[in-house]
Amino acid sequence: MSTENPDIIEYKRILAVDDHEMTTLGYKYILEAAEFDDYKVIVDTCKTFEDAKSRIEQSAKLYCYDIFLLDIQLFGPEEKDARSGEDLGILARKVAPDTKVVFMSSFGDAYRILNICKTTNPDGYLVKSEIDKLTLIAMVKKVLENPPYYTAIAMKALRNNAAYADMVSEQDKKLLYYLAKGVRVKELHEILSVSAATINSRKRHLKSIFGIEHGNDLALIEQARERGFL
């Protein structure tokens, strides 16, 4: 269609949400100045959760956004507010299923990434430290044409998890979860209703999977966290 009428310029609308205004401004300047083949990009910025929420809800009725760029951490640590970009993502998926959802977070840990992937199945995930001009442009292109888009760190986290997913059972995950909570082996076998010997052997198994045969439980938990099991 666009090729048929070169005079009419198509605009792609993007909503960037981040509590740091500078970040969104950065995105705006970069993307609006970028040269795309068939369209131009307009970036709206938004720095609070409430604002973002209402805009997402409006998006369905008024003008439709093509992409939501969501930061995850929207409140400072002192605010102790549990709401996050993740909630916005879930909302967006519900009210505007056609709009692409991309997370732009400083979180690079596999667990967080995997968790978000599970809840919202985003069209992209970018770790902030990896973002630059080219990445942003590439992301927009990929997401609009052939999602998903992942930056290198996010990709690695996902792949890592996928590689071990078959080897780590649900029971193992529970075990890791309780271990990380600080439950002792003595109590653990009661919770999981298996023998203490079994627990020890599972732990050995997990350690060998994660390549830390001689590491302690702490190392095990760290590794599990890295691989997205926690």
Partner: protein, 729 residues
């Protein structure tokens, strides 16, 4: 010479057997006796060969001089003077013996040997010494023998009371020794002495007692003597039937004996005399005849022979057979004259006088009767004398009054004497019994003393056992106490260890929380801002319009903020790293925090950083912890306070703990100690510390503890380190 020697040998053997049978337990005595016998044997042999006394007198001196001298002394072949010298030599030798038991033994021998020696003084001296020696050495056997010897001596001397006394003494000792045979024999001897003074009843009783003792032993000879004696007594009592009965029994025992000739004859004579006294002269005659029929009796026992002849003649005469009565009586008198038997002579003369009286030959009768009286007087046969006096009144009616007077006086006198003697016997017996009783008393006292000794020994032993028992018990208790103490110590350590462990966890959590906070701060504030700046700068690119310039300024401003924030975080981190919070202090702090949370009371806790609080012994830590817990609780419960101030300080050597509240306070003196206070008291005591409470109504309360500092051993430190509790890092 040889004959006498053999007789003497026989006597000695008899004596030896008598002694040795009584000394079965003392082999040395036996051996000495055998040596004596051997010596004697040698001596007699040598006499057979040499027939020389002087030669041997000294030759065997070296072997056994005392025994030898005693033998010499007893040898009646020697002159009296020689005998006396021998005895005195023996006595002299004995005096030299220092060993009491041996001395006693020889004295006893010598005492026996000298009984019949004419110099009675020598015997008495020896005998007295023997008795003293026996008493000294407590040798009751020798003592009994000595008394026996003495009694025999008096018996020969016809002093019945003294004789009785010594027999009695001997008898008591034998009785004490449970020697029934000798006891019985002494009894018999006593009975004989009693009969001498006409204490017939007493004598009878004693004899029967002797029989009771001897019968079970089947000592036929002694039994014969006893029954014979009974016969004599009952004959004197004119109970002829009983006398005959006793004699028959005596005859029965006699038949059991092997050697009995002499005894049999005198028994026959006795039986005859019973019949004669009973007036049954016809019955009596055959007995006397039988006595006389014994072969060569006249030479073996002329006394008996004369007696029997006398009796026979008299019985025949009374029985109407006057043939050769006078000649027979005269013959008997002749024999008695020849053997100087004055006692029997008086009887014969009495019979002869009676015969003459019957034949109406009053002149002869009177003359003979007077002779009889003289003989009776000479032999101090008072019975005979009385009868003779009676006879004289009949023969010589003119002087009848005088004779009767004499008779009555004598009779009275005799009766008096006899009574006195009998009394004396009774007294002897009584005194001896008393003495024995006294002895028994002494014995009893001794027994009591021994008992007391035993009791004391028992008590001492008991006390010893008891003290050993107590010692063991106390020791055991002490050990147990130590063990309990160690256990309590261990428990305290365990408790504080657990406390520390949970505290450690809390600290770890706190650390983690802090780390998390810092990381979040970095992440959100710093990273976010940095990212934003970066993004903006990228976005602005080369733009140089007004907006761009303003945004760049903003970015720079933000950069500065980031810088400040990083500095701040860095400061916080370094502070956290360098600040050391000991576990124990932490525990107290968290205890106070909990208190604060649960109540509206504000707590302030300070501690001296110079003390290694974690290094204190588990005992101090746990007790201190509990005391703080207790006192804080007390403050909350009773004081209605708003503030509690706790200070852990240090003096020179002690920990000084102060717990102060600003509550209502109380009168320390009036207040009774509750469980809480008592707990504090016992805990402080465990730590060897001291404490006091200062309080007044409305002016708050201060608890002050002073505890000697005591750090636990390095081993425990090591252990705790291994367990992951780093006390002082």
């Amino acid at each position: 010479m040889l004959k006498a020697l053999n007789m003497f040998l026989g006597l000695f053997l008899y004596l030896a057997s008598r002694r040795s049978s009584m000394l079965p337990t003392k082999p040395t005595y036996r051996i000495l006796f055998y040596i004596s016998i051997l010596a004697l044997g040698l001596y007699s042999c040598s006499r057979d060969k040499n027939n020389s006394s002087t030669n041997t007198l000294y030759s065997s001196e070296q072997n056994d001089s005392i025994s030898f001298w005693i033998q010499q002394g007893k040898d009646s072949d020697f002159s009296e003077k020689m005998q006396k010298i021998a005895f005195q030599k023996a006595y002299g030798q004995i005096q030299k013996i220092s060993l009491d038991s041996v001395k006693t033994k020889y004295l006893s021998q010598l005492s026996l040997a000298t009984i019949n020696f004419k110099d009675s003084l020598l015997f008495k001296r020896i005998n007295e010494e023997t008795i003293a020696q026996a008493q000294k050495t407590n040798d009751s056997v020798v003592l009994a023998e000595a008394h026996w010897d003495r009694a025999e001596y008096y018996n020969v001397k016809a002093i019945p009371d003294s004789s009785f006394y010594h027999f009695y003494e001997a008898q008591k000792i034998y009785e004490g020794l449970k020697n029934n045979y000798y006891s019985g024999r002494m009894m018999y001897n006593m009975a004989v002495s009693q009969k001498e003074v006409k204490d017939f009843t007493g004598s009878e009783i004693t004899t029967i007692r002797a029989i009771e003792l001897l019968k079970p032993l089947e000592k036929n000879r002694q039994l014969y003597l006893c029954y014979n004696h009974l016969g004599n007594i009952t004959q004197s009592l004119k109970e002829y039937d009983r006398a005959l009965e006793y004699y028959r029994i005596a005859e029965g025992y006699l038949k059991e004996l092997e050697k009995r000739e002499g005894l049999e004859r005198s028994l026959l004579n006795n039986i005859g005399m019973v019949y004669q006294s009973d007036g049954q002269d016809e019955e009596a005659i055959p007995y006397f005849k039988k006595v006389l029929e014994y072969d060569s009796l006249r030479y073996i026992n002329p006394q008996l022979y004369a007696k029997a002849m006398n009796n026979l003649a008299y019985s025949r005469y009374r029985n109407g057979d006057k043939t050769a009565v006078e000649s027979q009586l005269k013959m008997a008198l002749g024999i008695q004259d020849s053997i100087d038997d004055t006692a029997d002579k008086s009887i014969t003369q009495y019979f002869l006088a009676d015969y003459y009286l019957g034949e109406k030959d009053s002149m002869k009768a009177l003359a003979t009767a007077r002779k009889a009286k003289l003989s009776a007087e000479l032999s101090s046969n008072n019975e005979r004398l009385l009868e003779t006096l009676q006879l004289l009144t009949r023969i010589d009616p003119k002087n009848a009054t005088g004779y009767t007077q004499e008779y009555i006086t004598l009779n009275d006198e005799l009766q008096e004497q006899e009574r006195q003697a009998r009394n004396k016997f009774a007294r002897i017996r009584f005194e001896t019994d008393e003495f024995i009783a006294e002895n028994e008393e002494l014995e009893e006292e001794k027994q009591v003393l021994t008992n007391q000794k035993q009791i004391w020994t028992g008590l001492a032993l008991g006390a010893l056992f008891f003290s050993v028992f107590v010692y063991v018990l106390v020791d055991q208790r002490r050990k147990n106490q130590r063990l309990r103490f160690q256990k309590a110590q261990q428990a305290a350590n365990q408790e504080i260890f657990n406390l520390m462990l949970s505290q450690q966890q809390k600290v770890e959590e706190g650390k983690k929380g802090e780390q998390k906070r810092i990381s979040e701060e970095l992440h959100d504030a710093v990273l976010g801002k940095m990212n934003g700046i970066r993004m903006l700068l990228i976005g602005l690119g080369n733009k140089s319009d007004e907006t761009a310039i303003k945004l760049r300024d903003n970015a720079l401003e933000d950069m500065k903020k980031v810088q400040d924030e990083i500095r701040e975080i860095s400061h916080e981190l370094s502070h956290a790293a360098y600040r050391h919070i000991p576990n124990f202090i932490n525990s107290i702090q968290s205890l106070l925090n909990t208190t604060e949370e649960a109540s509206k009371v504000k707590t302030t806790f300070t501690h001296d950083e110079m003390v290694d609080w974690d290094g204190l012994t588990g005992d101090i830590k746990i007790n201190l912890y509990r005391i703080i817990q207790e006192s804080v609780q007390n403050a909350l419960k009773h004081a209605q306070c708003k503030n509690i101030v706790i200070n852990f300080g240090i003096t020179e050597d002690d920990l000084r703990i102060l717990v102060t509240d600003d509550g209502i306070g109380f009168e320390v003196r009036k207040r009774k100690k509750g469980i809480g206070m008592r707990n504090i008291s016992s805990r402080v005591k465990k730590m060897n510390g001291s404490w006091f409470i200062e309080s007044k109504k409305g002016k708050g309360t201060t608890l002050q503890l002073t505890i000697p500092i005591e750090y636990h051993s390095p081993e425990l430190n090591e252990f705790l380190k291994k367990q992951g509790i780093h006390q002082s890092s």
